[in-house]
Subunit: 397 residues, 2 copies
Amino acid sequence: MNCDEYAVPGFLANGISAGIKEQGRKDLALIFSEVPARAAGVFTTNCFKAAPVLVDMERISAGAAQAIVTNSGNANAATGERGYRDALAMSRAASKELKISDDLVLVASTGVIGHPLPLEVIERGMEPLVEGLRRDGIPDAEAAMMTTDRFPKMSCRKGMIGSREVTLCGIAKGAGMIQPNMATMLAYLMTDADVDGEALRAVFQEGIAQSFNAITVDGCMSTNDTALILANGSAGNRQIRRRSREYAPFREMLFAVLDDLCRGMVRDGEGATKLIELVVDGARNRGEARRVAYAVANSNLVKTAFYGGDPNWGRIISAAGSIGIPLPTQSVRLFFEEVCLFEAGQGTAFPTDRVAAIMAQETIRVRLELGMGTGSFRIYASDLSFEYVKINAHYHT
Amino acid sequence: MNCDEYAVPGFLANGISAGIKEQGRKDLALIFSEVPARAAGVFTTNCFKAAPVLVDMERISAGAAQAIVTNSGNANAATGERGYRDALAMSRAASKELKISDDLVLVASTGVIGHPLPLEVIERGMEPLVEGLRRDGIPDAEAAMMTTDRFPKMSCRKGMIGSREVTLCGIAKGAGMIQPNMATMLAYLMTDADVDGEALRAVFQEGIAQSFNAITVDGCMSTNDTALILANGSAGNRQIRRRSREYAPFREMLFAVLDDLCRGMVRDGEGATKLIELVVDGARNRGEARRVAYAVANSNLVKTAFYGGDPNWGRIISAAGSIGIPLPTQSVRLFFEEVCLFEAGQGTAFPTDRVAAIMAQETIRVRLELGMGTGSFRIYASDLSFEYVKINAHYHT
């Protein structure tokens, strides 16, 4: 069930303008759990990991956290030894002000790469940031994480775990460098559920694989991608464990929130005008379905065709056929919604009015059946517009 | 040595407007050798091969050809059984008019995918096409192959093979779907050299691997890519064989012509404003150097940064680090021309004036040193502009 407000029992949040970004835009965010929470995280697999990612990867291994401090406007990436020291100093500034152990603070940064973090500005902002912490501060925290995002990505659900009502709220920022494993993307999930550490890690990893690791805006992977979940147990539910009956309903809630955030992120992909929900099935296995899905979803020719409203099935099958997986070309079928556009090695005489209506939709479901096996993969992708080029040609280092 | 004109002894050519494309644009091309020539070809590896590609792959295996007939405006791709029959009929129309064996005719088509070939129009055009064949007809043939190309790609060299002067001329069309293995790309090489069949196949394959299979405009691979070489022996040189001393000078001529065509093709990539000559070296092997090179060259964030004139080294190293090859991040170095922008895990204090001047160049040499081994790969790439989106959002099926 959706919530009326973005708030989770036992969590406080805030977002302020500290002066990292120009013109008073919010740029410093804090999420705080009143008690230490169980925590899990998934991070970029890029070799060039930003300093805050390195800090978080170490800390999260203990499975507990109480605060997440985030700045936008500067990614603290490719900043060498100094960057790592700065990330630690940013954490210390938060833990000192919050009067908690430094090990319980996670840090994240997003923005330009290769510039030293404006540490003094961040340190100066910590006092008002902590002072302003409040139950309904999550939307402000979200606002302070945004870079080129056009709108906030937030989702909140309530559900019953046994006899207790549990709340799960997620916030995320995009919007460029969106590709699996993962995006320039920060996502934080907060819940008052009591979840065992192993169960939390397992369900979060599974959820990320099917959500943030199955979307693409531009096929690029960032140095800073971070997804974190904090579960503080305030709901007092019977603890959710891997094999307990509480696991399934919690998994369902989490997946619903992650799906909301993902769709929002792709829809807000840089310059995106459409969301393409592409399912590749009939592959020999899930890995091959995934490779075909990404080949199609990252094809600039496919993406520009969707932008132009052109049902260019030729570009889709050409992209699918180009990556070295042998396809049975006579068995491949392509659908836009319920309409088959390609089968038996050639285009069909599809109803042009109906397809024109489909191409005008904001969300377009595309299904590519390979006819080889049972492997399947679903991906959300955006189109490629003038606006994407404009944003990225002029977003300077 | 470059030539004054595009002509090769023993070859005739022509290009006319048959009426496939609108408004009298040239759309039917013929290359004809006065005697049967040794022939070799390299074709798209896409599963969805266009009908003319299937015809040529069969015929080229015999190692001989005398004519290449090409139409633009329609790719005869994804056209099923009918497409294959149409490709054969197009070949027969040419062989009949030329009065040669049908097996010696190669066919190619480029243009929209999924529409039946306008066979009658092509058949009607064959008589004037053959009548107009002439020594200096190569530029007209090139013009008739072009689709979204903005300028012709032609190169002609002369050189001595033993005591005989030999001519080698190449023509090519791009300009979208340019990516290795190969592009929506047609390239024809004509030479009067006498080359043994095995040597011709070997040198052509090696040349294509280093030229057309090492460029990218948009990371897409076409269904129609075809590169053909015809060597008719009119020069009367001592036959070039795999291990003869004539092999090296012929190889050098061929590589120079292929390099000219490749650079032209990338420079004429859809919407391209810059040519990026990217060398990745210090990889563990050539295959990994190639993967890193393509990850960087196909990154939309990198391509838009070059378009915007922004020396965004962060996007380059981020792309390099994103594909699962473990890089020694402290050893990686990045150069634009002679200037180092990144080393020891962070950006350098590079001279901004000099780098601004480099970013304004039409051709920019970028070198990424990985510091792991001796594997190296060079790639030519284009940038990503508004114009690319415009062309591809509005090029309708």
